[in-house]
Symmetry: C2
Subunit: 431 residues, 2 copies
């Protein structure tokens, strides 16, 4: 029982939706903590024991673990029970769980698009799902009454429910969530390497927007390793599309095509601001203006912490919009807080950033190249199913990201958020 | 009846393999030319008429046309006839033809991996398939005797026969043929743009290796439009893998990692030379050494015509080898003459090219960036199924390529080939 499971328990308790909650967890320490927090009426030692007599079973584990859990619980499921999940990838969960589940249960995969970068039973809170999407991916044959029941459950804990196919879900999430995470991890890597080679503590001096851009890189390495391995084909597809969009901006920058850059930036800014839940005012940061003239090293530092993130943010909003046009579904709608933070810099002044980026063109092109090279190390690991590499990399980047926070300044963000955003406790959706 | 069909007819005549050849073609001019060349015993006006009483039907059309031809011939096929093809993509041909063919015929897809950049019935010759691979992709249920017959047919016209699945075929050909063509087209585009922006006739002054590298871009635009649309997913997959390999070289170059560059170059050189039919001696070209010091413009010109092609050639041989390790199949084995020309520059001296490329690093990095941006325009067209864009682009690049040949010097290559290669008339395999 981690962030999602404990948040469900808290919301269910608050809304008095069920008679009894039974929970389990792998470690006895966590099981004890669940009791201390009074998150369940009963805490049992195994998954098999947990599902006995349950009308609704919600499996909340990393995406790579659903198959084995389904196998464990299959014998003890009650006739007519609804079995659901919270996995961030839906095709793999269906593939892994469905073969093990008996025909007498209703299997309805679901994904509440909500989260924070924190984990464990202490990290949860009852409001996590409030006004967030919960995407349900039943098949055509799924019992309609069971779908209605599960939808109602998620609505009662505050979520908006949307139904789509697992395939569509995985593509939408690839662009609105998985690729932003991949990019945040990668840009920390690139920035850390540049920091080292320049012998300047770049990461100790990043501005607020870089901190927002990389906040999602603090997320759980196990969870993200599993997501990238499970959804690699959709991520590859979307990453290619993303590269195609980015290359148009890159070429315009390379050729000093001021009109084209401005047009593309302004289009994305308008697009982003048109999505209500992404709307956010972003102030220009004086430090960018000041530091731009301090020689090659500062130009490179600024390129990786300020200009590159903006180019990427502009690109990813455009890519999500492009996907909307193909799928006839408003993809940006399903992006939650994480996407908001990640792309907030795309809401800033197109004229200002066009000029800043062109002013620093050579360094930005270098950082774009480095970023791409670093990104391709990760896609290569995904291709060869190298989970250890991914886990270690994500863990290392989480440490880098925590270092940024420790070196100060992140409080500023939180103070700003308090005023503008009542959902302070979930600064982003990690899934 | 074009290059492949007329070559089959010529080889079949020479070997006296059949009693009678019936041919057809869309245009009456081509039908008349077939008779003038005595390529068939009978030339008929339609595909329906052509297949009547045929024991063996080999459909030779662009990849996008197989479905409609299968539909046309389906009613007139003889009981027990073998129906085959020569398409460069196998999954799409199976998908398009199989549903239309009656159960009483043996459908055995095939791909003779041979060709030249020329087309039409005059372009064919009886030796085209000699010592080339013909890849046959039957299903598990295909009649064994029919497979044996078709295999024997291809062996009699000189080919070596290999059996694999359509899926495997399409991945192998993506890296050994389709991506080289995509790259050759793209690099001509990049070079032509640079030529224009520098106001230097770069393309009139390219060396022999650039001419070899881009020869395949003279191929038939319709054929290649269809191939890229039909095999886009395998091409995307392989292009991503290619980018991952290229990014390792790029990073080594960026960081002046001389040892790593040399190691990677030398590995590929050894790899390429170990494949007997790709072996080719390449002499260093003095002009590269001389021109390298002539200022920024020449540096950029050299980067796009000399250094970038080498980086790419090294990369693609490495990628094909990497694929071999995954598929347990010697992928490089199936690459024919086109791949040989395309990658011949990877056989040159690793030390020399390491130093030349590092000497010209900034310009090479710029051209790599531009190349990548130009390439992504093509992948975007493939993604959105924009056949017109691809056709027009390929046609334009064919004209650029022909301009290079007209501006002289390509004779040199042919003279060299006469001495070392008896298969002069098929300088490359286009499929």
């Amino acid at each position: 029982m981690g962030l999602i499971g404990s948040s469900i328990a808290r919301a269910v308790r608050r809304e008095k939706l069920v008679n009894s909650i039974v929970a389990t967890a792998r470690s006895s320490a966590t099981r004890q903590r669940i009791m201390e927090l009074n998150l369940a009426d009963k805490v049992v030692g195994t998954n098999e024991a947990a599902v006995k007599n349950a009308d609704l079973v919600i499996v909340c584990v990393p995406v790579g673990a659903y198959g084995s859990v389904a196998k464990e619980i299959s014998q003890n499921l009650m006739h007519g029970a609804i079995v659901s999940d919270v996995g961030s990838v839906k095709r793999s969960v269906v593939r892994d769980m469905a073969p093990h589940l008996p025909r007498h249960v209703h299997f309805i995969p679901a994904h509440p698009v909500a989260g924070t970068e924190n984990s464990g039973p202490d990290a949860g809170f009852a409001e996590l799902f409030y006004d967030r999407w919960c995407i349900i991916t039943p098949t055509e044959n799924t019992n309609k009454e069971a779908i209605r029941k599960l939808s109602k459950f998620w609505q009662k804990v505050g979520a908006k429910v949307e139904i789509m196919t697992p395939d569509h879900h995985d593509r939408v999430l690839a662009i609105t969530s998985h690729i932003p995470h991949l990019i945040a991890y990668t840009i920390l890597d690139t920035a850390a390497q540049i920091s080292e080679s320049l012998k300047i503590d770049i990461l100790g001096r990043v501005d607020r927007s870089f901190r927002e851009f990389t906040r999602i890189a603090a997320s759980d390495p196990t969870m993200w390793r599993d997501i990238f391995l499970a959804n690699s084909d959709a991520v590859f597809h979307m990453l290619f599309t993303f590269s195609e969009h980015l290359s148009k901006l890159t070429r315009a920058m390379r050729d000093d095509d001021r009109a084209s850059l401005l047009k593309q930036f302004a289009h994305v800014q308008a697009l982003r601001n048109s999505v209500a839940h992404l709307n956010q005012n972003v102030s220009l940061l004086e430090e960018d203006v000041i530091e731009i003239n301090k020689g090659t090293e500062h130009r490179r530092a600024l390129a990786v912490t300020t200009h590159l993130p903006r180019l990427i943010a502009y690109t990813i909003v455009g890519t999500a919009d492009g996907l909307s046009q193909i799928t006839q579904s408003e993809v940006l709608r399903f992006s939650a807080g994480g996407f908001r933070d990640f792309t907030s810099i795309a809401a800033s002044d197109p004229n200002f950033w066009r000029d800043s980026i062109l002013d620093n063109k050579q360094a930005v092109l270098e950082m774009l190249g480095r970023f791409n090279e670093d990104l391709l190390k990760l896609t290569s690991a995904m291709r060869y199913n190298d989970g250890n590499f991914l886990f270690e990399f994500f863990q290392r980047m989480r440490a880098v990201r925590r270092g940024i926070v420790e070196r100060g300044g992140d409080e500023l963000t939180i103070q700003v958020d308090i005023e503008v955003d009542m959902y302070l406790r979930r600064p982003y959706s990690s899934e």
